[in-house]
Subunit: 562 residues, 2 copies
Amino acid sequence: MRFSEFGLTTLKEVPADAEIVSHKLMLRAGLIRRLASGLFTWMPLGLRVLRKVEAVVREEMDRAGALELLMPAVQPAELWQESGRWDKYGPLLLRMTDRHDRDYCFGPTHEEVITDVARRELRSYKQLPVNFYQIQTKFRDEIRPRFGVMRSREFIMKDAYSFDLDQSGLEASYARMHTAYTAIFERLGLKFRVVDADSGEIGGSRSQEFHVLADSGEDAIAYSDEDNYASNIETAATSPDGIETAPPTADMEKIPTPGVKTIEALSQFLNVTAEQTLKTLIVEGTDGPVALVLRGDHELNAVKAQKIAGVASPLTMASPESVVKATGCGPGFVGPVGLEIPVFYDHATIGMSDSVCGGNEKDMHYTGVNFGRDIETPETVDLRNVMAGDRTPGGRGTLSIARGIEVGHIFQLGTKYSEAMDATVQNPDGRNQVMSMGCYGIGITRIVGAAIEQNHDDAGIIWPAPLAPFDVVLVPINMHRSDDVKAAAEALYTELKEKGYEVLLDDRNARPGVMFADAELIGIPHRLVISDRGLAAGELEYRHRSDAESRNLKREEALKLL
Amino acid sequence: MRFSEFGLTTLKEVPADAEIVSHKLMLRAGLIRRLASGLFTWMPLGLRVLRKVEAVVREEMDRAGALELLMPAVQPAELWQESGRWDKYGPLLLRMTDRHDRDYCFGPTHEEVITDVARRELRSYKQLPVNFYQIQTKFRDEIRPRFGVMRSREFIMKDAYSFDLDQSGLEASYARMHTAYTAIFERLGLKFRVVDADSGEIGGSRSQEFHVLADSGEDAIAYSDEDNYASNIETAATSPDGIETAPPTADMEKIPTPGVKTIEALSQFLNVTAEQTLKTLIVEGTDGPVALVLRGDHELNAVKAQKIAGVASPLTMASPESVVKATGCGPGFVGPVGLEIPVFYDHATIGMSDSVCGGNEKDMHYTGVNFGRDIETPETVDLRNVMAGDRTPGGRGTLSIARGIEVGHIFQLGTKYSEAMDATVQNPDGRNQVMSMGCYGIGITRIVGAAIEQNHDDAGIIWPAPLAPFDVVLVPINMHRSDDVKAAAEALYTELKEKGYEVLLDDRNARPGVMFADAELIGIPHRLVISDRGLAAGELEYRHRSDAESRNLKREEALKLL
């Protein structure tokens, strides 16, 4: 491709609304252009990258025996009413009404449609297992679209849905997808982790996420290199095993702490560490407010808390009025001692002694609080986020925390949709049996953004080779004045294309600095500079995008590096 | 691909709502499944065909220098308001409102979006010409979706948009697309014609349609093999050249014709041919009703009539009351003699003499009507559809009429959108100049239906080789009982796949008749039958889908035929 014929314009300025590096670079390098909030046009350069992602995903899905089909983007409300999601899904679902006043939505996901296809097509267990997938445009009406294609409203997904006779079949289908996804992200040349995850609103039992690792990732991932454990921090479990409690060394005392309402202020005021304090949070329960107690330096994990029987879901902090009514004091001075509402203690609290906590009285705290003496030793629950240095649940390793961008998610749905929509097949005994389903998503458009978050420098994008829109960029110096350079560049362009490389020839009448900057910005892996001086020496200047310096090489040597 | 793993179910029964053969066969062969009115899922077999169409279109567009991009399906109302189409487009446009109450539509076409892209990206004439295309899902909210994928609501289009500095540039871009489209339909193995067409609501000056020829086609095409003329019947012109009038031989008489209201009844009653009668139609004009006069056997062409100055557009028949008021009599007895409203005569009427026409009085007609004596010889206009046997406008040939399915349409839009949306570039003189646009569509999904309309028999589809979902189907007889057949079938399957063929192995435990019927229904070009008897003779049974009979051939000979 010749630069002059590629309709590509790069930008020097960083667009004002772009918050993260991939968004900035995708706009600057001309991969995408904004149409409206959360809506982007994929320009020719960006689409080349997108198609590479699609091709790898398609090949590995086919290899895993999945069958590609294509469902409509527009879905009738009736199916969503059948599954119960028409009312539950909320404003993320873009709804519309046709000329006959029938309700539809722009599909954000296709569980209902595929279950409808499956219940019509699949009659016998002999047709199972089967896994249907599609690569398709979806829409989620995000309240605040941002981060470019990472959280856009319209996006491209690969969504797959497996159908099996029973749970053991589902587990086998799920394992095949785990293998396929691993192959996909390896082939794409991305550093990633597979983590245990919460199933969220999609539902079902087991699920795992595939995260591209990047410092800017929205998700925190807890992992251990010692025992392969990895989990989204939302679901990374803590355990009470091995926690030991030191015996009390101090008496419990109630002391004045005027105006001291935060753990930080309390630590300073009493000259104790946050680890010595107990943090008590009042949240809505299923039957009035309840208290959640954590070690002062620990973070509450809402996903875990709202799954506890007695705690309202979604997790909701109690209003200040409700706190006063339940505890006799305002937020900031609440503690578990003598509290008369249900109290849930995090596992880690049991390892504390001589603790500091709220006094359940304005401007007062207790010190020297001990379990078994001042508070009855409780059953503990898992309430907190794991931290770097925590032991893994298996106990064989230590956790590290990394940040990741979720690009894939595999779910064991079980019978959630097939039961609601009566998707059955005849089993070997001749009876109807509800099928077990799995669903498997990959954010095709999001992968492009995530790849850039992981692979860039100050000058621009550094594409992993499998994603690069071109393999090599040719930069002829003064091509419009030197016939030799022009002839050499054209010959090299033709030769490399014939060898099967994807080549971008920068044939613009532009200064070398402009061409170098654009080549770096758009991140082509291999760069070859053709100049009169080089030609005189029979040399090309070669630089890999990730090299610090360029090298002058004989033509043949340079070509060998590609 | 093994049949047993392909998730394919064929149907014996013809679904009740399928009216045309392609719709019936696509459902029976399992290419598509209906989700809701005008919404279809492309099943794996159908998607394979669709992808072949896409690949050919993409290759030829790339070869023509067009650049692929991908615009959002969801489009903001603001752009449609800018072009003026938000109000004009009517209920075909599926509109929706997002969570912030902003208006959007599901794009049925992308002139507005691409013009917005172009006015941001293109600054200088040096960036021209450029032609952007995409292959994308569109939506038209048809009032009565029918004919399966031929008139569905959601469909896949290839839409391309060229930008040039001026009309001569546009004409060159348009010519390149004409060449590319011709290559596409030739490569797809379809019989087609390119015809001159009306530009309709898209607007612009010149346009041509690409029609796949099929008896069931919705459009009539007039063409001449003698001088390459071809036109949609909507726009095929007639001319007054060479029309001669015989001198009068009879006096004009007003005669009673009680209850005779149609041309047919009139011909019978007076024993004259329809060619001797004048048909007078009263339609709405821009300033009260006007009369259109045609030869009795000719058909009014609404597209032509509504373009005439003085005739209302869209063409609207006058109400019976309005006819009485304008002519003094009801419909059925109106004629041009002495009529006091504007009268437009079709070219062909001027060649008539001693004609019969309405008497402008209930139950009365005139006979012996002649121009120049009874009616002042008028200027004539083009009002009618051409017929087989008419001369071509060039006069060098004779027209034939064929039926076609429109699968492609190329337009010279000119500055219609670029002017409304202020899409300019700097011209060589340094001044801003509105760009000239072309737009070029291909109905990707529709091509699949049209190919079947053109290529089928009573047993099913007969795919042109470039569209076939598989090249060859292997039908082993009693594979589940004969180890020899099984081994031979598996070996052949592996060998053919390695040679690069797309092979469907019918590994079902089904009767031969069922397998043969399915192979014919889904229309795979080459069929090889493997049986114990054939193996004993070292033979395979070969049949091409379009052959009447199968042949027993030595294995090597059979493979040569592929």
